[in-house]
């Protein structure tokens, strides 16, 4: 703007004019260079304080031994000891195994349920009613994880939990008694207090909480598929299933890629559900519910080994990065729509 309006000093050309022009343009160039930085400075400051600094600090910490309660002065350089210690700790490996198990078992069903449900919602339900359904499915996602986990904690309870009560009731119904006959004997089933059942119980809560979110994503995906394509497919002789399989499903690939990426990253960081459901008690019986984040929390805040916790967090980061990279490598090009 300032460039287009004539500068009164400059237009008034006298003997000393050339020098003045130079001085003016130098100052202007500085203003020009600095202005954009000024505008993006809020982000840069926030990024440095809350992202870049903690990142580097945790990298630094991972080579120190530090009890945060004892103050900064208690920091002591230990080299790679923290990493060595973490690698030797069977709990780390156990927690990584549990994390992977939970990520798969609680992740895959979310998508296997969400995709057909979203498709039916988009294809068969009027838009107004669809929105009511979608909103309902979305409620668990915006509800506090701790609250949900507490509710499920009571549902799973061995003696008074509604789940066991229902199982007993159902097992007495005519047909169900055939294959639920064993239920009476097995009571009380300790969903959260036996090493075999903890992980499935946790997985169910996670599925219940996040399926709705995926339904929303997939609904958005199916809505982007133009009706024309289904028409063309019908004329090409597709039945309903072939339309879904050959048209709808490939068309929402970018959405699936996005949703699966979120699931992978979210599930590998799973913490609240196992923490609440195992009462914060070191991952429950036999550490069956101990996830990597949960372990990280124990090391840092229960055992006050900040250095070791930092090292573990970097191991966890590496783990997530590798899994995500593999996912990107195999699904990335098609998933990001690079083939369209």
């Amino acid at each position: 703007m300032a460039d287009t309006t004539p500068d009164p000093d400059v237009t008034d050309i006298r003997s000393d004019a050339p020098r003045r022009i130079r001085r003016h343009s130098t100052r202007r160039r500085w203003v020009k260079t600095l202005t954009p930085w000024l505008f993006i400075s809020p982000f840069i400051i926030i990024f440095c304080v809350f992202t870049a600094f903690p990142l580097m600090f945790s990298a630094y910490l991972s080579f120190q031994e530090w009890n945060p309660v004892a103050g900064l002065a208690s920091m002591e350089y230990v080299g790679l000891d923290n990493y060595r210690l973490a690698m030797d700790d069977p709990w780390l490996w156990k927690s990584l195994y549990n994390t992977t198990w939970l990520a798969l078992v609680s992740g895959i069903p979310q998508h296997l349920i969400a995709i057909p449900v979203a498709y039916l919602l988009v294809m068969a339900v009027r838009s107004g009613i669809r929105q009511v359904y979608t909103a309902t499915f979305f409620v668990p996602f915006i509800t506090s994880t701790v609250a949900i986990s507490l509710i499920f904690y009571t549902i799973y309870s061995g003696n008074s939990g509604i789940l066991n009560q229902w199982l007993v009731a159902i097992s007495k119904w005519p047909v169900f008694s055939w294959f639920l006959g064993w239920v009476e004997e097995a009571m009380p089933i300790r969903w959260l207090n036996s090493s075999d059942l903890i992980k499935p119980s946790i997985a169910f809560v996670v599925i219940w909480k996040y399926t709705g979110f995926n339904i929303v994503i997939y609904s958005a995906g199916f809505l982007t598929v133009s009706k024309d394509l289904y028409d063309a497919a019908k004329v090409d002789g597709c039945n309903a299933w072939q339309q879904f399989w050959n048209i709808a499903l490939p068309m929402i690939r970018p959405f699936a890629f996005f949703a699966i990426t979120l699931t992978i990253i979210g599930n590998l960081q799973m913490f609240e559900e196992p923490y609440v459901l195992t009462e914060g008690n070191s991952g429950g019986v036999g550490q069956s519910g101990l996830t990597a984040s949960y372990y990280l929390y124990l090391v840092g805040w229960e055992w006050l080994e900040m250095g070791a916790a930092a090292a573990i967090s970097w191991v966890l980061f590496l783990f997530i990065a590798i899994v995500t990279a593999v996912h990107f490598y195999f699904n990335g090009k098609k998933g990001l729509g690079g083939d369209r």
């Binding site: 028409d231 063309a232 019908k234 004329v235 072939q242 068309m251 690939r253 369209r340």
Partner: protein, 353 residues
């Protein structure tokens, strides 16, 4: 191949009635063009025939069987969509071969037929591309390919060439004509381009506001338009319309233009009443001497050379008439001229039409 028959077919979208009691028979192997202004229901009609849309009332009959309740797959009709509707995630070859794949045709045969169709349409170099990597005209040809690769009972074309340049369009037109000669599949062809309609079709159907105005061979429509809409729609440049009053005396019918010029018209029109509209085709108007029959004085407003002929705008009786001048006369603007037209070429329509 099939005979397609529409019986009292109507279609409404909610309150809006889009098609009104259509009756049309397309004989086996016939090529029928469907023309009409935008929004008159052409696409809707094709979609109903294809089975993508239900008729509100009336029947669709194919080979004496009512097919209202059959789905598109069972009707075995191929359709080229106005919007192309290509599958974005499939290559050109997969797009063209999709129907064959769904029908369980063997891989080798599918490949061969898809390639043959691509060859016909000049798409051979593009077989591995995705639709997003094609130009509009190329996409349109892929959409054509998806239809011609099949062996359907009927073809429905919804403006299949609208996006091609003039040269390619002429080539494709010939290709379609050739194809139809070869396989004789019943075809219904929607177009805005009357040259396409006239050159391709055995019969032309003119639709306006969901009502059929006239059905006939191209020549019939050109020579004997049923009303002023058909007359204005068929022929290029479009027919001129001028208001006139009609009088019959002594076995001769005369039309008087607003400036008092008198034209002799065919006696058959006497029954139309006093106030009428004359339809004068630009190619039937000629520059003539003052003394010629049906001479009309006017002045030159515009000369548009098109190469072989000039299009003139001549102001007659306060109205600009388009004239096709094949003599390529050298005319100055505002020069006074006379136009004449043979009485048998003058069409007369009721004024309030």
């Amino acid at each position: 191949m099939a005979r397609v028959e529409l019986v009292n077919l109507s279609k409404s979208f909610g309150e809006v009635k889009v098609l009104h009691d259509l009756n049309l028979t397309v004989e086996e192997g016939e090529f029928v063009a469907l023309v009409g202004p935008s929004g008159c229901g052409k696409s809707t009609l094709l979609r109903i025939i294809a089975g993508l849309e239900d008729a509100t009332s009336g029947e669709i009959v194919m080979d004496n069987e009512i097919v209202n309740d059959l789905n598109p797959r069972e009707r075995n009709i191929a359709m080229v969509f106005q919007s192309y509707a290509l599958y974005p995630h499939m290559t050109v070859e997969e797009n063209i071969g999709f129907n064959l794949r769904i029908s369980g045709v063997s891989k080798a045969e599918k490949r061969e037929r898809a390639r043959a169709a691509a060859e016909t349409l000049g798409l051979t170099d593009l077989l591995d591309r995705k639709p997003s990597q094609l130009s509009g005209g190329q996409r349109q040809r892929v959409a054509m390919g998806r239809a011609i690769v099949r062996n359907p009972d009927a073809f429905l074309f919804d403006e299949p060439l609208s996006n091609l340049d003039a040269k390619l369009r002429a080539e494709m037109r010939d290709e379609i004509k050739h194809l139809h000669h070869k396989v004789k599949t019943t075809s219904i062809y929607v177009t805005h381009d009357q040259i396409e309609a006239m050159t391709l079709a055995d019969r032309v159907v003119i639709l306006k506001g969901g009502v059929i105005q006239q059905i006939g061979t191209p020549t019939e429509l050109y020579r004997n338009p049923a009303n002023s809409f058909v007359a204005g729609f068929i022929g290029s440049p479009a027919m001129n319309f001028v208001d006139a009053t009609l009088e019959t005396s002594g076995g001769q019918t005369t039309a008087t233009l607003q400036d008092g010029t008198k034209l002799v018209v065919s006696v058959d029109y006497a029954a139309l009443g006093r106030d009428v509209k004359l339809g004068l085709r630009p190619e039937h108007l000629e520059l003539a001497a003052n003394s010629a029959t049906n001479a009309m004085p006017g002045s030159v407003r515009l000369v548009e050379p098109t190469g072989a002929v000039n299009h003139l705008k001549i102001k007659v009786a306060g109205q600009n008439l388009t004239v096709v001048d094949d003599t390529l006369a050298d005319l100055a603007l505002d020069a006074p001229v006379h136009l004449s037209i043979a009485p048998e070429y003058i069409h007369v329509f009721p004024k309030d039409e």
